[in-house]
Point group: C2
Chain length 240, copies 2
């Protein structure tokens, strides 16, 4: 547990003082050695498929993952996106053919059979994963995750805190939040209403509604209504 482990303390101090991605990389390697696991990875899953991370997976696997756009079929990402609590890979849905194929390929690149991933969310819909990976039997893995669950949650938190520090454009608190009416409009559009229906629901003319949509589109830097709704959702401005 934290506080009872001098070595872990010093590693976390190093993380807090890291000021580059390389620094985080070193910390993940140190943590991997500390916990005696095969891999330890922080993975930022960003919009538009831009994603980065740091960790101990091989470069070859990272390249493969990105080039094959595995994020779209990775059950770990899919599963964590729906959850709040950390999840053991065994509890995910590996039934689809693509998922099994993905698993098989990952093993070829040195990814272990056991995994434990923690979803992390930041402002504006930011989403990331913190994963510990190992090769061992179920009993051993269960013991490990139960013993270290709390540590891992905290470490995940600290990794994300660092990653957000590095990310430009995240810190300047973009105050381009939507007005109440704009949020109403975006919300109802996301619920599938047509403009006429939305206007009716809000008891305003369709013309007025259009101004809100355009205004929201402008604020969100969106190219069209669908884009605006998508951005509003991913930034957590509306909930559907």
């Amino acid at each position: 547990m934290l506080g009872t482990d001098k070595q872990l303390e010093s590693i976390l101090s190093a993380l807090e003082q890291a000021d580059t991605l390389d620094g985080m990389q070193s910390v993940s390697e140190a943590l991997r050695d500390h916990y005696k696991v095969d891999h330890l990875v922080y993975h930022w899953v960003d919009s538009a498929g831009d994603q980065y991370g740091c960790g101990t997976y091989s470069d070859a696997w990272q390249d493969q993952y990105l080039s094959q756009n595995y994020v779209r079929i990775d059950p770990v990402v899919q599963g964590c996106y729906q959850r709040f609590h950390p999840v053991d890979w065994k509890r995910l849905d590996w039934s689809s053919k693509a998922a099994r194929e993905f698993l098989r390929t990952s093993a070829e690149y040195g990814v272990g059979n056991q995994g434990y991933s923690i979803p992390i969310r930041g402002p504006n819909g930011q989403f990331a994963l913190f994963t510990v990976n190992h090769n061992c039997d179920d009993a051993e893995w269960t013991k490990f995750t139960e013993e270290n669950r709390r540590d891992l949650i905290l470490i995940a938190h600290y990794f994300n805190e660092k990653a957000l520090e590095f990310e430009p454009g995240r810190q300047p608190i973009q105050q381009s939040s939507l007005s109440p009416r704009e949020i109403d409009a975006m919300t109802l559009l996301a619920m599938g209403y047509s403009r006429a229906q939305v206007a009716n629901s809000l008891s305003i003319s369709e013309h007025t509604l259009r101004v809100y949509i355009e205004s929201a589109r402008f604020k969100l830097g969106a190219l069209n209504t669908t884009h605006a709704v998508a951005r509003a959702m991913s930034r957590g401005l509306i909930v559907v």
Copy 2:
């Protein structure tokens, strides 16, 4: 620190076994006594304005907060919504007239002058706050928050985990999967491309694309394209 404190351990065990909001309420009272602070509050902030929570603020203050819709002006909520890391209330922006008025009123209801709040985010844009509040001088408060920062992050995490358990409709994760092409289509639409652009990107005719969109709409039970994209996003089928 966790793991070095038997009393805190037992309180957290009680939290893990809580199965009602009242149970969480009791835990927050126990934690307040444990940390010897004035208040300790978990506050679920829903976009629709539906909000609930549990904690040790007086009923009168909670009623006042809800009836006055303070969530819209509360600098703690506003500030935490843009941040990832825990934040001391002193670092928030209290400059607006509404904020100062709010602060003055809160003091009348027994809210202390010092506060430390942790933002928490779950799937589908869920957002909550975990706050510790006290009446003391700055030095004492800084010492307290620095010493207990890690504990508080973890406790916040556990509170939210419980709250999500209680929330109906959050658990059922239905996986109606889209085909790869449908996911491509939905993703590109969410990125703001028009149908013509999407068709071009995928190197297919616009007619074919339309079939995918319709098929995805059908699978998602969506009324139109925007709705389909919104549903695909909130179900984590596409990552934008």
